[in-house]
Symmetry: D2
Subunit: 486 residues, 4 copies
């Protein structure tokens, strides 16, 4: 099956984006816009829950934000001055609509909706304890763990119950929580996933990235800090820090690929970091050539940086077709043999007879790289050199990124020379881990106390992998496998 889904892109995928509004009569509309700006963090499904003073109107569906929330009727059905939204790529809990967030529950203290970016690493262990004492899980999503921990907590106040809950979980999480009185933002102690706070007139906004603020013209206030709980009520903002401070470990792949280039994350412009990586690459592994060509769209900033640093002209030697349906044609053998180019096409005038430097952000399985190099050679390139704006990806992520298993990661199974041969390039180079840290403005990686989570490159996992290590030892969950109607 030829698809244009993410893996054909051969990219790692962020699993979620979250957004929340407190105090606007247009809360749901603003949330829909915010989710549209965060669409790159999850294209499979989206949901919004608002609070109208009595009930919690909700709409959750598969598809793109613009399609799901594009009708006036839908937005009008989501009344209220407060709303929380979520986009997802896929979750720890399978594809059924019952796993589409935000999740909601009716508690003794009232209703609560929650949206989660990240992944818990001890969700199964905690779930097992909860089921033993009588909790009924409706989804298979790790996010539901928060709900039952809050429900069964013996504390009285909601925020105390939330603190009680986050103390029992391990993993990465940026949460936006909405209750009948509050909007609450939470980041895990190491701040693996992003979350920012903004203001639009009198209303407050929580968003995974600053682009969610930009689209509605909101002002950026600050990042929610690692380990911080930000509680927003009619009385204003209150900051709670229930954890002992530790070195933060923000996900460095957000800089490499996940975040939008026009976002400012943790104080730094993503576009600038990516151009800087291009500079580093040009310095670390320069090569004599006629033209620098990005693999669009994600390779463009690093390629611009490489061209700038090397003085070699930048050209759009590869054109990308942005009209992507969800799936595409099951090819016959003949068609498969043709090497169909659904997404990229060579721009021959800029490749023929040229020594080409291709710049991409990462290599995951290597499938797309191989096809593109072949296409560039057929277009007449005399040499093809590939430069990658991240170190080799050799380990899976357990903190909210969808990674292929280790045996499918090209760099986990081949050295660089044999990768170059498999991909078909004359030379291949990755930016060094220190080069990558330098591009973010640091002096390199401090291996005693690294400033980022870079486990996918280094194997240094900063948070315990409880479920992963216990795998196949616990009770098997029984599961309802619901057939989708239509």
């Amino acid at each position: 099956m030829l698809t244009t889904n993410p893996f054909d892109d051969d990219k790692l995928r962020e699993e979620c984006g979250v957004f929340g509004v407190f105090g606007s009569p247009d809360a749901a509309a603003l949330t829909a816009l915010g989710l549209h700006a965060l669409q790159h963090r999850g294209q499979e499904a989206a949901g919004i829950v608002s609070y109208d003073g009595e009930d919690f109107p909700a709409h959750r569906a598969s598809g793109l934000v613009g399609d799901i929330f594009g009708s006036e009727d839908v937005i009008k059905s989501l009344q209220g001055h407060r709303a929380v939204g979520h986009v997802r790529y896929s979750t720890a809990g399978g594809k059924g609509l019952r796993n589409v967030q935000p999740l909601f529950a009716d508690f003794a203290f009232g209703g609560l909706a929650i949206a989660h970016n990240g992944n818990l690493t001890n969700a199964l262990a905690v779930r097992e304890r909860l089921v033993q004492r009588g909790s009924i899980f409706q989804s298979t999503a790790d996010t539901e763990t928060f709900i039952h921990l809050i429900a069964t907590s013996l504390y009285e106040k909601i925020v105390d119950r939330l603190i009680d809950a986050v103390r029992q979980v391990e993993g990465a999480y940026s949460l936006v929580v909405m209750t009948q009185k509050k909007l609450i933002g939470v980041r895990d102690p190491m701040g693996v996933r992003p979350l920012v706070l903004g203001k639009l007139n009198d209303s407050y906004i929580l968003s995974s990235e600053t682009v969610g603020l930009d689209i509605v013209g909101a002002e950026f206030i600050r990042d929610v800090e690692p380990g911080e709980i930000v509680e927003i009520t009619d009385a204003g903002i209150k900051s709670i820090k229930p954890f002992k401070p530790v070195q933060s470990r923000f996900c460095i792949f957000e800089h490499v690929y996940f975040a939008r280039p026009d976002s400012i994350v943790e104080g730094t412009s993503v576009y600038d970091v990516r151009k800087n990586i291009g500079h580093e690459l040009a310095m670390e592994s320069g090569v004599d050539a006629d033209v620098v060509v990005p693999i669009p769209d994600s390779g463009v900033p690093s390629a611009l940086g490489y061209a700038e640093a090397s003085g070699i002209p930048f050209e759009l030697g590869i054109i990308r077709n942005h009209y992507v349906g969800r799936t595409f044609i099951e090819p016959t053998d003949q068609i498969r043999h043709l090497g169909v180019k659904l997404k990229h096409n060579a721009n021959p005038g800029k490749l023929k007879g040229k020594r080409v430097i291709l710049v991409d952000d990462s290599i995951v399985r290597g499938t797309t790289s191989t096809k593109i190099v072949d296409m560039v050679r057929q277009a007449g390139a005399s040499e093809v050199h590939m430069r990658i704006a991240s170190p080799p990806t050799i380990n899976p992520c357990f903190y909210g990124v969808d990674t292929p298993s280790k045996e499918k990661l090209m760099a986990a199974n081949h050295d660089i020379e044999s990768m170059a041969k498999l991909i078909g390039v004359d030379s291949l180079a990755f930016v060094s881990i220190d080069g990558l840290y330098r591009a973010t403005g640091l002096e390199g990686r401090n291996s005693d106390n690294p400033a980022f989570c870079d486990a996918c490159f280094t194997g240094d996992y900063p948070i315990r992998l409880t479920d992963h290590q216990a795998e196949n030892k616990g009770r098997k969950l029984t599961q309802l496998v619901e057939r989708q109607s239509a």
Copy 2:
């Protein structure tokens, strides 16, 4: 809005039918057929959950059984030798798909699916206690109460937990429960709702009515008894009676209208009971006339009985249009004024110049009766007498039947004479409560210890109405109001 939905019929509506199969490779297909035979008990939605030895495949949707389960793909997706199914008209829990049964949950002991016919009268009270200790309800259906009671029970065995649960609830319930090893049938202590046990070769079947057995050619074994738990395993059938025996109070309206005429309920042919009511009516309130005309379809057996006992010819003076869509046209004022006859039409040759006895099963709001009498008069009837095969309906039901509120029940607000005037008939008579009991084979109603639940006619409610009496005193449930996608 002119609709052809049940209330245009001006009938009370049974809320559910249940069905289960143990031990057949065609469990889901048999269940679909059984639900089709029980379709009259609920036309709004249907669901089946099977157990394939590992997971619980499920399909639940709005619509008719034949449409939902009509494709081979759907049936094939419901693998396993065990299945449980449900049709519903509407439930205590609103219309969302999350309320479509069977419900399922993953417990510490494994998975369990449950289908429920009836209505609990203390569901809110029990729910409140459960929420206080940390249970999270996903639906607003009373049936979910069983699931949380089972989950939080301290007993070890499933059946003991189930007994623990049913001891805490009040109300009417016939349940079919499926676990990883068992199929279990349960009736409440008074046996308000029906449930029968059958056998098809080596497999066992539970069904609300015998017509569910007939359609698949299964043999009727016996009724599940009031207060009985029937546990079906590979080892065979085991009967458990956790309650002290009390006088059963089977719903007498099942005989009047709910059950299919070709069902045998509690040992008696429904068709025969209905013809007997016609005999009673002819004796109790005979009138000189030319023709006995049923209001189709439900009035037909009693009209045949009336004609037989009175010697007055039976004729199809009213024809019913069976092609009913879900909804119909919003009429303009002019059209409304025309008195459109979507469902019934006069057969003029049998009415013109005739003294007509119309026979119907019941009068709820009186709206349909009025229209039909008007139509019969326009067709030229010289006299119109109406005979009703049940006593006046003056009280709402709390045990699983959808009743209009008391102020909308015609007989609760008018004496018979004024009803006759409103409906426009020359005479109106209802069968007496004793006549109704006689039609079932008894000698009349023993008011010290009646053999049926007849609260809708007498106001004698045999089971406590805890929630009803506490109404508006408890915590308000917060609720997710999910917009259905497309």
Copy 3:
């Protein structure tokens, strides 16, 4: 595939119903209601075209009238004081939506919509001539022939062009035609298919049957006569008779099965004719028995007549399930073996130990009869006699009825004795052709000049079968086979 579609009913099927309104602000709503009353004439698809003074709004879709036209939005989109509608079972032209009527075309003189009940017997021959001279057919329906004949006629006035057209076609047709000024009703010279004229206040109505008038409370004026063109304009009604009068040959099967029992066709009550057939059957082929049982629903009037004439009690020994989805479950071999009863169930108390006379309207393939007899025997009947309210069906219809091919018609391939054996009855009898004519009020069939088309029973085809006789000799039509989206 077990289906509950018409052929499982083993019935012949009328192919269409037509309806039109002139001069009402609710034209489309009235048409929707009229089509609902005519739903038995075609359940596969329906359409309405109105004229709003400028454009011709239209809505045509697959499904039942109540579902297609049930929303206010749809009716509101069909503005105008004039509308024409159509229901169909299937047509000469395949199942695609492009064949759903009414058809419409833009002519030199303006727009025209047409709805057709019947079937042309020289459509292919005429089409071939038209294509040769440059006409482009968009559908494969015979009805489109009228449109091109009108378009290419050299007459100036629309009615003259219409006369020119109907003079060139052979076959059965009742037409309702709408132009920018007129509503026109047409019946073929022999009046094979019905068409009636009614009045509702100031507006005129054309309808296939009187039930289409009843539902909206319109007054019946008269039948459109065979060979008549009724032209309705603001100036009133004008009758045109372009053909030389011939003996009319109304389809006798309309009386047997097609028309609704509450319709008055050609001056006669259908219900009365059917009861009369029961009388004839009792006299022609009486048999000693305990109970007369109709095969519901169509056998009921004849069974009542039989019971009345014979004095043997009438009982509902077979109950029909009216909840029919479009299709049903693909059974496994085991299920098929069970002899599943999707549509009919025995009412055992009225069959056990009894000598039963089953009454049905016709036997086409004999498949359903065989199943029902088997079911009645399993319910304990001691004897089973079958009486059929029509003569043996031995010939296909070419005038608008969907008939199986001759080799599938049971009576075309077996004598009555061997049919009885195949069906499994103790005796089998059909009403005689003369008995059938007597039931309509005549003295019997005048074979020199019969009053009805009875070709399906006698092989006497009153209209030439040009295309049928030329079959496989002409140019093969090329065809677009459009895949329906979703």
Copy 4:
């Protein structure tokens, strides 16, 4: 209504793309891929018709190619070695599905399917003549004119009928026609719209652009020439030239915006032309600045050219969100006031304090330009200069491009100075018409005999505008306004 539909982009829109395959067992799959590569030429609907040796399987629907043709079932239903496909933005004939191409008809000589890019300028005049003589039009599309001209031609051979047809029409047309034996490509005498011929192993391909060949790995043979008919049969390719040769007038806007940058049109690389325009702009209207920023995506090549020629650094100062649903949220007044940025966002690090040159391909209404300039100023730009890679657009197109009416074209109603003020820039310049011609490799525009159609810039319309000039004088077409089912 905030939409992300084309006009929000403030671009002119090409109306169609065409594609055809002769002689491959994968004809439909190849056509789907070709249409995917041509998706930028029409995103509203797509269709494919194949020929399987007997019938013409077809699938046409609204939406994107990847969604419509993404399932194996759909492709398998389009059997045959020959296929023709079409994508469209909108047509002369409204939005109904009956206007989705390819059109098909059954002629005396057999079936024929036709796909058309362009627009006829005398379609109404010809249609009127055809309707007068009895032709029935089913669509309102100008393309149907070809079908009736072919049908009514007195020539015998299909190609002669086609020649007869094209001689009677005026306007722009590139056609792909499929019959039971042939695939035929046609371009109008001036070759306004593109059409190229390619070869893939033994099969021939016709495609609007070379990117349709690239995606399937086919070899480019040559452009179909203006006024040429290319007839492809089993015997190979035959070229027919029925018109007297005239100066070709290829649409110059294909170079500016319509064609994909990786296409080679009329022998020239579109990407190179666009970069050249950037060079011309830098030379014609250079300005001192810090950064050259394209308005993505279409402004990128010209911005690269401008940066290259001027030495001013190129930066991605504006980021485009590619996740576009069909429609988006109806904003409240407050939201409208916020100036929501659904599609573009400022990349602030590259704009703040900078003198910015924005490069875009064209200005149509000016709406988007105004918003983007405002966004760039808010991001802190100290100066904003805008350079446009085409001359001012002051006239509508009648040859297949969707243009706003003249009163909405900004440049038709304002001089450049006042445009600059309205848009809010410090300076504004368009490339000159001679500069544009130079960018294509010519020496400038020869006004006696220009090499391109540039009517939108110059008002010099090379083909007669018959219908336009006769507007509102002819008979009004009556029209069926079909409501789409769900």
